[in-house]
């Protein structure tokens, strides 16, 4: 599937901008992460990171659609 992926914090640095468009096989969060980590290995050096779908933290099994707002959430540090 094709997805626009938003990136914040250090993920923006790693992906080289606030969003990228990805074309990847499969349609789950796990599929997306696998492609992202392959293309941007520095993601794997993070303490952890989550994927958010429509402003909610997603599970690896969450199924994505092209209409979803998808974002990479590196470790948060607000407050």
């Amino acid at each position: 599937m094709k997805a626009i992926v938003l990136a914040f914090g250090i993920a923006k640095d790693i992906l080289g901008g606030p969003d990228i468009t990805l074309d990847f096989p499969g349609n789950t969060t796990a599929d997306l992460k696998s492609v992202l980590e392959n293309q941007f290995p520095r993601l794997k050096q993070l303490r952890s990171y989550m994927v958010a779908v429509n402003n909610e933290y997603a599970q690896d099994c969450t199924v994505l659609t092209e209409a979803d707002e998808i974002a990479i959430i590196p470790p948060v540090s607000g407050g």
Binding site: L6, F8, K12, R47, N55, A71, P74, S77, G78, G79
Partner: protein, 139 residues
Amino acid sequence: MTTQIKISDQPLEIQSCIDWVMTPQSGGIDVFIGTVRNSTKGKKVLRLEFEAYEPMAIKEMEKIAALAFEKWPVQKLLIHHRTGTLEVGEVPVVIAVSCAHRDAAFEACRFVIDTLKQTVPIWKKEVFEDGETWVAAHP
């Protein structure tokens, strides 16, 4: 409304935050104010830069507020978070909680800031004299 949540790139106004949570039923208000410290692990900090995924951050803060109302007899609860560049001494976050009794105010306020730091998609970059770091990004 009993909850006020805001993300803003303008300086937070602490007194208005406190005025907003105060009600005639309140006996105690606890306020947590985060401030930009001039050093971290012994290293001089020049400034902090905050970035938020705003719609999701608002949503997560609303969840935290709802949980606080479930867990404690909270009257009003306010969370204001700054974004952008903050100098030493500036205020990234204000959390204010009013309750009939103080115990609930202290506990709910602490719960809100502790949980905010775990779940709300806001990021902080520390800028040093010789570089910068996204806080908590790496193990």
